[in-house]
C-alpha cells in the first residue's frame, strides 16, 4: 500500500468528480455554445458547476471564468489586469514568496517595462500589511499575493494587506492566488477584498486541466486567449465541460466540511510533529500557525532528492520544494529566512483529509531509517 503525501502537488480525484466528468463525456457531451438542446444541456451542467464555485467564494455566477488551470488564471490576472489598468500606472507589487506562475509572469511584465516590487518577509518570516502599503504608490496598478504558501504552508495576511491597500489606494487591483487555501480555509472574495482570485481544480480532488479566475463585477481583464468569445470573451475556446463538471462536483463535496477537515488535518499535523520531535536532526520549516495541510521539514545533511527517493522506495510519496519546478529550488524558502543548508534538505509533506495517522507513522519510521541509512 502506498502512502500519498504530496497533496499540494495534486490530489486524487474524488468519485463524485470522476462520475461528473464521465457524465459530461457520455451523456451531456454537447458544445455549451450550440443553440440546440444538446448544447443547452451541456451549458446547464457548466452553469451548475459555475454556481457551486461562485457560491463557495460568496459571489455571483457571473464572476467565475473557467481557465485551463491556476497557472493560466494567474497569467490572465497579472497580464490581463496590468494591460487593462497599467497603461499609465506601471508598477506591480507582489510578495517575494509567490508561486512561479505569478513570479515568472511578473518577470515577463518586468521585461515589458513594468516595475515589480517584491515584499519580503521580515526576520520573523512573516509578511506585514504596512510593508505592502508602503510598497504601493499612486503609480501602482496591481497587487498580487497568495493565500497560503505552497512550500511552507505559511498563511499570508491577505485580508489585512488588501484592506489596508484599498483604503489608501482604492483603485489598485488586488489579486489573490488561493490555490493552496481554497477548500481548506474559507475563501470569500468580499471579505478578502480581492478583485481577482485564482482557483485550481486538481488541488481539491477535481481533475487536472481546469482552473478558474474570479473577476469582481466591474473589473476589466484583457484576454490573453482570443477566439470564439466563450466565457464572455475573457477566455475563448470551447469550455471543457467534463473537467468543469468535475471541478464543481469536488467543490460541492468539500465546501460543507472546510472546518471539520481543517480540524482533522490539524490533528494529523500535530501527531506528525510530535513524532518528528523524536528524531534528531529533523527541523520543521513551516510556521506553527501555518496551514496544517503543508508541513515543510529539513532532514539535516540529507539532500532532499535523495531522501525523497529513499521514501519512494518505501512507497511513500512526498515532494522536495514545489513539484511544479521539478525539484528545482525556488528561493522561496530562502525568503522565509531558511538557511541554504536546510533548504537543500527540505521536504514537503502535504496532507489531505484522506490521510491517516497510521500513514504518518509509516513516514516517520521511514524517515528514521533514512536518517540512519543515507550517507551524507
Amino acid at each position: 500500500m502506498s502512502v500519498y503525501l504530496d497533496n499540494a502537488a495534486t490530489t486524487k480525484p474524488c468519485s463524485e468528480a470522476v462520475s461528473a466528468a464521465l457524465d459530461a463525456m457520455t451523456v451531456n457531451f454537447g458544445n455549451p455554445s450550440s443553440l440546440h438542446k444538446a448544447g443547452l444541456n451541456a451549458q446547464l451542467v457548466m452553469d451548475r458547476a459555475r454556481k457551486i464555485i461562485a457560491d463557495s467564494v460568496g459571489a455571483d455566477s457571473g464572476t467565475i471564468y473557467f481557465t485551463s488551470g491556476a497557472t493560466e488564471s494567474n497569467n490572465l490576472a497579472l497580464r490581463g489586469a496590468s494591460q487593462a489598468y497599467g497603461r499609465k500606472k506601471r508598477k506591480i507589487v507582489i510578495s517575494a514568496v509567490e508561486h512561479a506562475s505569478v513570479e515568472e509572469t511578473a518577470c515577463a511584465l518586468e521585461e515589458k517595462g513594468f516595475e515589480i516590487a517584491r515584499v519580503v518577509p521580515r526576520a520573523d518570516g512573516r509578511l506585514y500589511a504596512v510593508d505592502f502599503v508602503n510598497a504601493c504608490d499612486e503609480n501602482t496598478c496591481l497587487i498580487s499575493m497568495m493565500m497560503v504558501n505552497n512550500e511552507t504552508g505559511y498563511i499570508l495576511p491577505v485580508k489585512e494587506v488588501f484592506s489596508a491597500v484599498k483604503r489608501r489606494f482604492p483603485n489598485i487591483i488586488t489579486h489573490c492566488d488561493c490555490v493552496q487555501g481554497y477548500m481548506k480555509l474559507p475563501v470569500k472574495a468580499a471579505s478578502l477584498n480581492a478583485d481577482l482570485i485564482s482557483l485550481s481544480g486538481h488541488k481539491i480532488h477535481g481533475v487536472k486541466g481546469i482552473g478558474a479566475l474570479y473577476i469582481k463585477k466591474g473589473i476589466r481583464v484583457v484576454p490573453i486567449v482570443t477566439g470564439g468569445k466563450q466565457e464572455k470573451g475573457v477566455r475563448s475556446g470551447t469550455e471543457s465541460v467534463p473537467l468543469i463538471a468535475a471541478f464543481g462536483a469536488a467543490v460541492e463535496k468539500l465546501s460543507s466540511s472546510i472546518s471539520e477537515r481543517w480540524d482533522y488535518v490539524s490533528k494529523l499535523k500535530n501527531h506528525l510533529l510530535e513524532k518528528l520531535s523524536g528524531i534528531n536532526e529533523i527541523e520543521v520549516n513551516s510556521p506553527e500557525d501555518g496551514s496544517p495541510y503543508i508541513i515543510n521539514i529539513s532532514a539535516a545533511g540529507k539532500r532532499s532528492e535523495i531522501m525523497l527517493h529513499f521514501l519512494e522506495s518505501r512507497e511513500i510519496y512526498v515532494s522536495s520544494g514545489s513539484a511544479c519546478s521539478k525539484g528545482a529550488q525556488s528561493g522561496v524558502l530562502g525568503s522565509f529566512g531558511i538557511r541554504e543548508k536546510s533548504a537543500d534538505s527540505a521536504l514537503r509533506i502535504s496532507l489531505s483529509a484522506e490521510n491517516t495517522a497510521e500513514e504518518l507513522d509509516l513516514l516517520v519510521d521511514a524517515l528514521t531509517e533514512g536518517m540512519k541509512k543515507i550517507r551524507s
Binding site: G62, R167, P186
Partner: protein, 392 residues
C-alpha cells in the same frame, strides 16, 4: 472582543402607531436573508437593529453584504461592543481598529451620545479618544475634513459601540409592507429594474413571463428565471408564472392588421396578467415601460393597453431615460443577464411599421375580428408556476 452589525432604520422611523408593523417586517426579512449564515440574535432599540452573531466563526462581511440589499435600511455597519466606560471604549478602539489605523495616515473621531446620562459629552469623547489614538499610532494625523478613517463612537442605552465604517443601506420600505403586485418580466433591461423599484417601496413581487416556443428558446426562459433569482436578493421570494403564448401570437398574426400586432399582444398580456394577479392576490401590475421608448410605449399606446386593465398598472420607469435605467440595472446586477442575446416574445412578429398613435376604437375593432377569449383561458389554465426563494 465582540463584534456585531448595527442596522439603522430608514424612512419607516417616521411612521406613527403602525411603526411596529414595519419594524417586525424588516426584522423578519433580515432574519430570512441571513439565516443560512449561522445563528444570530436580533434585537431592536432606538430605531436600530442589533444583529449579534451567536457563533464566533460567522462571516460578518457576508452579513453586511446581504443586509445591505434589504429595503427599509438607511445605513449599516460592523461595530465592536464596548462597556459604557471611557477607558474600555479607548482600549477596544485601539484593539478593534488597530489594523486599520496602523496603516492609515489621517483620521478623525466622531461621537454620538444617544444616552445623555453618559458623563462625557460628544466633543469631549472625540478629543480624548483622538488624543489617545494619536499617541498609540504615530503614523496618524488628524484631518476633520477628509479623513482616511473616521472612528465613530456611539454611546447607546445598554452599550457603547466603536466602528470605522458607515455603509449606506438600500433605503425604501421593508418588502411586503405595501402588499403584492404582479411584474411583467420580459427578460429585457427595464422590467427587472421596475420590479426592484417597486420592491423598494415595500411591494412584494410576483412575476409573469410569456413564452412562445419555437419562436422563443428555452434559454430565453432560463434567462428570465435567472433574473428572478437575482431579484430575490432584494425582493425576497418570488412566485414566477410562465404563460404559454404561442397560440395567441399566431392568432394575432393570422387575424389582425400588422400595424396593431404589438399593441394587441400587450393588451392580451395585460389581460392574462391581471387574471393571474387576481388569483395570487396581487393588487396591481408592474411594467418596465418608459414613455416614448418604443412605439408601444407612447402615451396613446399606453392608453390603449390600459383600457383592458381593471387594476392599477405601476410604471416606475415612466419618466426615466435608458441610460438611467441601465445604471440601476448594473447596480442590481441584472444588466449582464438582461443583455444575453435571446429572442423574447415581445420581438416575435414585430410589425415593420407599428402604429405610434393608435386610437382605442381602431385597436378594439382590430382585436374584435377574432375571439381570443378561448385562447386566453387556455393560456391561463396552462400557466406554470415556480417559486424562487432567496438565493445563495
Amino acid at each position: 472582543m465582540k463584534e456585531i452589525v448595527l442596522v439603522k432604520y430608514g424612512e419607516m422611523v417616521l411612521k406613527g402607531l403602525n411603526k411596529k408593523t414595519f419594524e417586525d417586517m424588516l426584522t423578519k426579512n433580515i432574519r430570512r436573508r441571513i439565516k443560512g449564515l449561522g445563528k444570530f440574535v436580533c434585537t431592536s432599540a432606538q430605531s436600530t437593529l442589533y444583529i449579534t452573531p451567536a457563533d464566533d466563526d460567522i462571516d460578518l462581511s457576508e452579513v453586511v453584504e446581504r443586509v445591505g440589499k434589504i429595503f427599509g435600511i438607511a445605513a449599516l455597519c460592523r461595530a465592536c461592543v464596548c462597556e459604557k466606560d471611557f477607558s474600555d471604549i479607548c482600549e477596544k478602539s485601539v484593539e478593534y481598529l488597530g489594523d486599520i489605523l496602523s496603516c492609515a495616515k489621517t483620521f478623525k473621531v466622531n461621537a454620538k451620545r444617544a444616552d445623555k446620562a453618559f458623563p462625557m459629552k460628544s466633543p469631549e469623547i472625540c478629543m480624548e479618544l483622538g488624543g489617545i489614538l494619536l499617541e498609540k499610532f504615530p503614523n496618524l494625523s488628524v484631518d476633520v475634513k477628509n479623513p482616511e478613517v473616521t472612528v465613530t463612537v456611539e454611546v447607546r442605552d445598554t452599550n457603547a459601540y466603536v466602528h470605522a465604517e458607515n455603509i449606506k443601506g438600500a433605503g425604501g420600505l421593508p418588502v411586503g409592507s405595501s402588499g403584492k403586485a404582479m411584474l411583467l418580466l420580459s427578460g429585457g433591461i427595464d422590467s427587472p429594474v421596475a420590479g426592484w423599484m417597486m420592491a423598494k417601496r415595500g411591494v412584494h413581487i410576483a412575476a409573469i413571463h410569456y413564452v412562445s416556443p419555437p419562436y422563443t428558446s428555452e434559454r430565453a426562459q432560463l434567462k428570465v428565471e435567472q433574473l428572478c433569482e437575482k431579484l430575490t436578493d432584494y425582493c425576497g421570494g418570488i412566485a414566477f408564472y410562465c404563460v404559454p403564448f404561442t397560440e395567441l401570437q399566431e392568432a394575432i398574426k393570422d387575424n389582425c392588421p400588422e400595424e396593431y400586432f404589438t399593441i394587441i399582444m400587450r393588451r392580451l398580456m395585460m389581460e392574462i396578467a391581471q387574471r393571474i394577479a387576481e388569483k395570487d392576490n396581487c393588487l396591481a401590475l408592474i411594467t418596465g415601460e418608459s414613455v416614448g421608448q418604443v412605439a408601444s410605449q407612447t402615451m396613446a399606446a399606453i392608453a390603449c393597453t390600459d383600457a383592458v386593465c381593471r387594476i392599477p398598472v405601476f410604471r416606475p420607469l415612466v419618466g426615466m431615460d435608458k441610460t438611467e435605467i441601465i445604471e440601476i440595472a448594473r447596480k442590481i446586477d441584472t444588466f449582464e443577464t438582461s443583455t444575453l442575446p435571446y429572442e423574447d416574445c415581445c420581438t416575435v412578429f414585430t410589425p415593420r411599421h407599428p402604429k405610434v398613435r393608435p386610437q382605442l376604437s381602431d385597436v378594439e375593432k382590430a382585436q374584435n375580428s377574432f375571439d381570443f377569449e378561448p385562447l386566453i383561458q387556455k393560456a391561463v389554465e396552462n400557466t406554470e408556476m415556480k417559486t424562487f426563494n432567496i438565493g445563495k
